[in-house]
């Protein structure tokens, strides 16, 4: 136990004296939360719209007013033709074009089937989809409004949409769990693999292995400080999420933290595994970035929804620990789910932990022999 504390004290000196480590440990979580918080968002304001009004009558004017009254769309140009509309796209003045045909009001009142064309600049596909969806919604509400005013109400199906667990569609509800998963993976796994690789590089690892210390104690002594610090980091992110972005924890906090700890151990085991393979810090760093950071960001469902991935990537995503942890977080934080609801992802993470620890331990032994 005394030896263990000698280790922890030494590791704390290392951390406190290295600005880079300190910056990664405490700067990164805060920076990530703020960056994701203020950039990753599906909300939009003042999207620039160009309208080709070929009808130019009362109804079309009403429609334009309806479209721009919401404040989300800003009318930037009224081109005469579709060619002129494309010019505004090329000049990046407008992101969405609306074409109202000459026969608009005739079609609407007499044929009961008017057509409006939406043309979006899809060089930024997500943004384009968001704008088109919103425009569609506005067109539907315009139609409903008109129908109510006319005496003869046509048959229609009214759609009522409710967004459960996140009625305002707050981006923060998605990115806070994702950020916690990313931070724990990065700090725990990367810092662990870096710190062990550093001892190898300096040759101090040889000295520790030659000492009478059991290898288990060497590993525990090295990883414990990082485990504690990343757990604190996770709490910092949850707290920032709660106070800055109103992301609630509706379920049980102890359950959330306990599963946080489980995920943290998985990350530690991954870090150990990398460190048994990597001979120096640079290799450890690159391996961590490519095998941990990118998959955690791209394949865990954090930034891109898993169901819309190609089948092969969906299979790959099944071995990404962050995927299961994000599921757990969403269930506990947003859906107030209890223990039973997260049993499956918890089981998967536990199996991953056992497998990774066994692999790391086996590799460690091989390195020793």
């Amino acid at each position: 136990m005394k030896i263990f504390w000698a280790f922890v004290r030494k590791e704390i000196y290392h951390i406190l004296r290295d600005r880079r480590t300190l910056a990664i440990l405490f700067g990164m979580p805060i920076a990530l939360v703020l960056i994701f918080g203020y950039t990753v968002t599906n909300e939009f304001k003042d999207a620039s719209v160009a309208i080709v009004n070929q009808a130019n009558d009362e109804l079309s004017q009403e429609f334009i007013e309806h479209l721009t009254s919401s404040g989300h769309f800003q009318l930037v140009a009224l081109p005469q033709t579709r060619d002129e509309l494309e010019t505004t796209f090329r000049a990046n003045q407008a992101k969405l074009g609306v074409v109202i045909p000459p026969s608009f009001s005739d079609d609407f009142y007499r044929q009961k089937a008017a057509t409006i064309q939406l043309i979006a600049d899809a060089t930024e596909p997500n943004y384009a989809t968001t704008l088109v969806n919103y425009a569609n919604q506005m067109i539907r509400s315009f139609q409903q409004q008109k129908n109510q005013m006319s005496e003869q109400a046509p048959y229609s199906v009214a759609v009522q949409t409710r967004m459960y667990y996140n009625p305002q569609l707050e981006g923060a509800y998605n990115f806070v769990p994702g950020t916690v998963a990313l931070i724990l993976m990065l700090i725990c796994a990367m810092m662990t693999s870096l710190t062990i690789a550093k001892e190898k590089e300096l040759g101090t690892m040889d000295l520790l292995l030659v000492s009478p210390l059991p290898p288990m104690l060497i590993i525990l002594g090295k990883v414990t400080p990082y485990a504690v610090l990343s757990f604190i980091d996770a709490i910092i992110v949850f707290v920032l999420g709660y106070f800055l972005f109103d992301v609630p924890v509706r379920g049980s906090v102890p359950l959330l933290l306990a599963l946080c700890l489980l995920y943290l151990f998985v990350a530690l085991a991954l870090g150990l595994l990398i460190s048994t393979k990597a001979a120096n810090q640079q290799t450890a760093m690159m391996t961590s970035l490519f095998t941990l950071m990118l998959p955690t960001m791209l394949l865990s469902g954090f930034l891109f929804p898993i169901p819309s991935m190609p089948t092969i990537l969906q299979y790959i995503s099944k071995v990404i620990p962050a995927k299961y942890f994000i599921q757990i977080e969403q269930a506990v934080m947003l859906k107030a789910a209890g223990w039973e609801a997260v049993a499956f992802p918890t089981l998967v993470l536990t199996i991953m932990l056992v497998v990774l620890l066994a692999a790391a331990w086996k590799n460690f032994k091989v390195v020793k022999a």
Partner: protein
């Protein structure tokens, strides 16, 4: 075996095979207590593998060996308690102070707080670094780092200290100072097992062995070896051995 007591290291037919490749081929030698034993060989000759077996990091494929009286197969834990090790890289924490390095390694070997405090005084006095014990090791000149690393390898007063190419990248003056420390330690009864590829350094050893391709092709005092190979310097002895082998 009544003679056993006077030897710090005894090896008999010690062998390490990796698959078909024999890295260390049945080497046999004894090292007396308090002796400075040089272990020479070109890179890849099997020196590192041999040392790893001796310090309990690698299990021999065949042969016998005892270190400080402990068996390399069954008593590696006892061996580890009784040896010190210093590698080419010096193995110091550059972002810790001299005192913190001593405290950490003392802690690793289970020294008490009082013993550690005494060691800090003893080591800094011997290195004439009393005024610098709170200085970061990274700020020290190379020669001092090297001597500090040697002192740390002996922080728990081991019976044997293994030095794996301890003078790499150090200038001749510093190297001589370092060897003075080695002599001092040997005079205190500590056995020194040192690998090197500097032939002038080989002359400082009581006895040397030369490994070529996993075999121990020569063993004796520097003078004996020079006579045996009719060479003027250890350099020549070495060249003759390696050449004789490739012919």
């Amino acid at each position: 075996m009544p003679m056993q007591e006077s030897y710090a290291i005894e090896a008999q037919g010690l062998t390490k095979r990796f698959g078909d490749f024999t890295a260390v081929d049945a080497i046999s030698f004894n090292v007396k207590k308090g002796e400075i034993f040089g272990f020479l060989g070109a890179n890849g000759a099997g020196k590192t593998t041999a040392i790893k077996m001796l310090i309990g990091l690698s299990r021999p494929s065949a042969g016998e060996a005892t270190i400080a009286g402990f068996d390399v197969y069954n008593e590696t834990e006892r061996i580890k308690e009784n040896i010190g090790y210093m590698s080419q890289k010096f193995s110091l924490y550059e972002d810790l102070t001299i005192a913190e390095n001593i405290r950490f390694y003392g802690g690793v070997y289970g020294l008490s707080r009082r013993q550690i405090a005494l060691k800090i005084v003893e080591i800094t006095e011997r290195l004439q670094l009393e005024d610098y014990s709170d200085k970061l090791v990274g700020e020290l000149p190379l020669g001092w780092k090297q001597r500090l690393a040697f002192s740390l390898a002996g922080v728990h007063d081991p019976a044997i200290i293994f030095l794996d190419e301890p003078t790499g990248g150090v200038d001749p003056t510093t190297r001589r100072q370092f060897w003075e420390m080695i002599y001092e330690a040997a005079a205190r009864g500590i056995t020194i097992f040192v690998t090197t590829h500097y032939m002038d350094e080989a002359e400082y050893c009581n006895r040397i062995s030369i490994m070529v391709d996993g075999r121990m092709d020569a063993l004796g005092s520097p003078r004996e070896l020079k006579e045996q190979f009719a060479a003027a310097s250890m350099d020549e002895v070495f060249v003759r051995l390696v050449r004789g082998n490739s012919n």
